[in-house]
Structures are given as C-alpha cells and as structure tokens.
Symmetry: C2
Subunit: 407 residues, 2 copies
Amino acid sequence: MRSVAEHRDAVLALVGPTPRETVPVGSALGRVLATDVTAVVDLPGFDNTAMDGYAVRHADLAGATEDAPVRLPVDGDIAAGDTTRHVLAPGHALRIMTGAPLPEGCDAVVPVEHTDGGAESVLVRVEPAPGRYVRARGEDVRTGDVVLRAGTALGPGHVALAAAANVPEVTVHRRPRVTVVSTGDELVPVGSMLEHGRIVDSNHLMLRALVEAAGAEVAAGVHLRDDADAVRAFLAAPDGDPDLVITSGGVSMGVYDTVKEVLTEVGGVEFVKVAMRPGMPQGCGVVGGGSGPAVVTLPGNPVSSFASFHVFVLPALRAMSGLDPDDDGSFEAEAGASWSSPREKVELTRVVEEDGVVRPSGGQGSHVLGALAEATAFALVPVGVERVEPGTRLRCLPILGHHRGRG
Amino acid sequence: MRSVAEHRDAVLALVGPTPRETVPVGSALGRVLATDVTAVVDLPGFDNTAMDGYAVRHADLAGATEDAPVRLPVDGDIAAGDTTRHVLAPGHALRIMTGAPLPEGCDAVVPVEHTDGGAESVLVRVEPAPGRYVRARGEDVRTGDVVLRAGTALGPGHVALAAAANVPEVTVHRRPRVTVVSTGDELVPVGSMLEHGRIVDSNHLMLRALVEAAGAEVAAGVHLRDDADAVRAFLAAPDGDPDLVITSGGVSMGVYDTVKEVLTEVGGVEFVKVAMRPGMPQGCGVVGGGSGPAVVTLPGNPVSSFASFHVFVLPALRAMSGLDPDDDGSFEAEAGASWSSPREKVELTRVVEEDGVVRPSGGQGSHVLGALAEATAFALVPVGVERVEPGTRLRCLPILGHHRGRG
C-alpha cells in the first residue's frame, strides 16, 4: 500500500505552475504573484504631515509652553493634494492638512490641538521636536524596492501596497483550470425524482465548490454514465481545455468501475491503494501517458472524495497557482475525546476545532455527509495509532470554506 | 472619547439582514442560509452496500472460514444505479457493487477480498456478521430532518449535504451591496504620473478588495474631490443602490475635511473620536437622518482605514449577511516581543502570527502599508496597557485574505 505522502508526491509530479498573465492590480485579489512587485515611487512620495496643524521651523518656537505660548503669523494653507511648492518664511507658519506636502524650510509640525487654531496668526503652546509629525519621503518604501515577493497570494493589504507603490498591473499565475467529472449510473441531478437505487450526484456540485473555494476555475463539469466508450472518449479530449481533470467514482474493486477499467486499458494512469481512511482507492497520471492533461481519480464515496480532494488535489492546485504546496494552513490541536483509528492507515477524522481542541463531528462512515458538513478540519491520525486518547496532539488540516467566523 | 465597542454597536444599529433570495444549491458557495434546509429524502435513500462484494444471508455462511470456505451460487450482479428490486434466494448470493441497493432478503455483505471473486459461484472465506457493510436507509439523515441551520455560511461540504438531501435551491441572504467612496484632492488613479503632493488612491482599491474579501458586493466605487457640492450630491443619492456606503478621508480636524463638513451640515451622521490607534476619527449614521443608506466614514490614512474596516465595517457586513457579527474568527495568541501601546486607547498592532505567537510586522505608522501587507492579524492591545511584554496573551483579529497557506 502506498503512503499518503507518496501518493501526494505522485500527484504533485504531474503538475507545474500555470502560465503567467498580467492583470490590473484592482482585479488581482486572491491571485498569486508570478514575479516580484517593485515600487515605482517612494512611499511617502514627499515629506508630508501626519497631523492637521501648522508647518513651522522648530527653532521659531523655542521655549513655547502652555503658560508662555508663542504667536506666529500664518501665511496661508496647504491642503492635501496641493501641488504648489510652498516655502516657509522664517518666523512664520503655514496651516497644513494631514498628508499635505511640507513647505521648504519646515522641519516640524504642530498639531492643531496644541494651538488656538488661528487662520491669520496662530498661538502655539508647545515647542515641537525637530521632525515631529513629519513623514519623510521614502521612509516606508524606496523606488525600486521589492514590496511584494513572487508567490504571494494577494490580499487586500497587498493590493493596497502595490497600488500605493503606483504599480497598475501585476503578473500572476493563471488560475488553474479544472474539469470535474462524476461517474456512475446511480447518479441523477439534484431535484430529480429518485427511483429506487438512484442517488443525487452531490459529488459533482461538491467538487465544483471545492475547486472554486480553492481559488481555481471550473473549466467544465460533466456527469458520465458507466459506459466505457463514453468515458474513454471524454477523457481522451476533456471539455474545457483543463490543466487538470478530477474524476469521482469508478476506481474501486467493482465490476463496473469504468474509470479504472478504461484508464488501465488506455494507460498512463496508475491505480493504487493508499494507506488512508477514508479514501483508499486512488489513481493519478496522464491519460494515455502523452502530453494530455493530468488526471486525479478520486473515490466515489462523498466523504472519501472530499477528503482525497483536500489531501491530494489541493496541494496540486496550490503548486499550479504558484504557491508552496506544503503551506497548507495545517495546525496542531489537542484531542478532546477518545476514538479509534486503523493501525495500518492514516485516519482523516472529521472534527470540529474550538480553541485548539478537536472532537469528532459525528458518524465517520465514508458516506456520512451530515458529520462532514459540521466539521471544520480533518484530524490526521498517523499510521500506528489504534486509539486517540484525550490530550493526544494531532496535526489538523482545515476544511476549505468551513472556517468559523468567516463570511 | 467613545470606546471601540460603543462605536461598533453604533454601526451595527444602522444595519440589518439583507433581503432573502433563492439560488440553486450549486451556486450557493459562500452564501449564508436565511432559512433552515430540510432533507427531502432519506440518506442513504435505500439499504445499500458499503463495499464491492456479495449480498448474502449471513445464516447461509455460518462457520465459513479460510480453512472451511463455503460456496454459494451467484444469481447475477447488482450495479450501483440498478433500479430493479432484486430478491436474494435463500442459499444464493448476488454480486453487488459499492452503493448498489441490497436485494430483498439480504442481511449482510461479504467484501470481494474475502472471496474468490467468482461470477457463477463464489467461495466465501468468512462468516459475515448480520448488518456488516450494510448502510441502512436513513441512518445518516431522515426525510424532514433539518440538515443545515439558518445562519450557516455554505462551504463545499454544506453544498454537498444539501444536494445529497435532494434540495435543489436554498434561501440565502442577498450579498450586502457596498458603495465605496474615496475622497481627497491629493488622490490620483494608480499608474498616473505623480505631481508633487499627489498620491495614488490606493484606499479605493483596498476598500473594494476588502468588501470582496468579506463576501459582499461592490455596488459602485467613486473618487470624489474635496468639493462640498459634489460630496453632498453624491451622498444624497449614492450610485449603485447600496445597502451601505463607506467613505475614506475627510473626517479629521482639517479645514478641508469635506465629508465631515457636508455630513455635519446635512445631519444624520455623528462624528466621534474612538479610543483606538490607528483610526481615531470615525463617523457613522444615515445621510440626512432619513431612510437613506447607512454610511460609515473611515479615516483617510490607509492603515487607519484598513483597521477601521476590520473593526467596524466587517461586523456590519456579517450582520447584513445573516451571520453573527461577534463570530469574527478572533483568536488568542501570545506576544513574542515587547512593544508600547497608548494607555488610553486600544492599539491595533499589525502582527505576524505563527504557531500561536505574534510579533509586530514592522513600522506601525498609520501610513505604513509595507508592514500592513506582511501582517496576518491585528493584535488588540487593551486600554490601560502601556507595554506589551513577551508572553502577554492578546486577542487577535485575522486580517481578511492574509491567511497563511490559503490560495
């Protein structure tokens, strides 16, 4: 039996980063940088004031206090956005607004709170320190500085920094394109009348949602019946020009396991048993062994399919997006209950995590979706452990889109 | 000075849940349920097999072992999706595939691994326990059970469960619609030549990204100059028919703080100082005090605006989406360094969190975007603390879209 790590590596070996594309920085949320972002301007771009107040020379206010205030004539206002290069005359003040450029000759700012707020002249009640409330040009970022590194997944703060650095476009990896294939004669679309023996094709919608939640793109989605010709024809030229095809179902020990039957005949895809529960029957490869898209064949049980996606497909999507596949957000937590685990397999227990403690979320059968929907993480119980005891430290993998407290 | 909690409550008092709408379950990822979801079918919908193997009567295999296997005639196959109601004759077996309906009379399943896999007759090497490898109808979910509660933000597992329960559409809250307004004569679009005194309007792109990262919709986005007539006209009838308007800039102590000037004159919006750093100048209300959209006025410093969004706007968007505004994903962590904090204010320190330890991410000035982009959370240093020491436990608020290890 193959280990989880070995099969994960086999899947990762099939994929590489997607091609680069250039997008406006305002449309780059969630994308992953393919190149470093370099500042085009200094930040701040000019010496400016951190406070609303008065631009002064500090020496003109030597000894000013609450009891011995100093009055200076005010020669005018400098608003934020004022493009004039003002000059501060010795012994004078200019009224200045937050973010406005300092006038030449100014070396300090007095906040309006420490003055009488005058427009013609101003009574100042403190002696400002040189440089106080002054934001110096380039003190945050200098032109040519790398402000964001390749491999960064862009959040709102990254977008803000790139924009502030006057970078209008960024080079990112194209979103991975994934074609989702569910297989099985028993599957019918949601909302159908269910004949005896038929079930809803929930895997199809689930895998689409997982692909989207992972930040990738659903290139196409189909349901195929257990018909070898149809499966062979589709997988030879899958819809949607995908980077990756994921299938669910048809890979176990059954007589009608069409995906396995067809891909074994066509070649290029290896079917293996992986030492995990749920999710033992797995497969991956390139259809026909040529230059076609990579395919990962997931088991058909909903929970097995869901778990396998997290363990094998998600690292591949990360690598394709330009992210580190190992940077999976996993965390360590303490078991808050006792449960059994197969000695020879990694058990992916569906757990609810709260304040660093995890508890199984209900029935753990590979068809039990109720408990899966409640879970916030998979606890990975390693090979060799037959019983998790309260207090056992376990590595946990967050479930995509099931985080607490997120919209 | 108003406390952070008081201003948060004032903002929350302005908003309520958005109207409901019905969407296909396959398009509901990330949406928040407005009503409970009730199963339309049992799960499983019929007794079925958890394994590929043979449907049997357990009594027919009494005493079967590796050394004393029992042979049964095989009367045919039952594939997953077979809608025939098969009957198992006493003393016989039917070959059966994972997920296929059990024939009448069957009370156990023997996995193919414990047999010779025969098609005409099968040699069975174990005595199966009654009910073994049988998934009973309704053991996970029964028709009429509430499978998902109102207020659930739908992740892929929730989509799968609703679909499996044969629920084709769900009732969710409409995404909150937010109009984003940046103000200030100093602001120019990204990619412009920057004249002396001008800066890029990064807040505009940042606030749009924050709204999107929060799962809300940008209804419209504009930049307004410091022109009272333009600001007054826009805020009286904002573009995009929004549920909420957020502005940045123009709310401080300056002479050209147009947003504050106009909204004070028009009425309905209260401007206050909030005991936090960054982000002291805040405002919220309903323009003109009538039935117009709620407005939250954020300060213009990028970091102040970003922090204020997390502390005030995000809870409002959660409440509008149908989520608990308090369920903010905040967590407790330990300070891994020492830093100072204003005694009379909550300090929102930009920190990088790693394994439960937080460290400031760099310069903490309200204009310093570099450190903000690196940060993964805000550490909330409470009022009364002047110095954080290593080991201090701090409440931390995750930064939207800056999580580690997420695509």
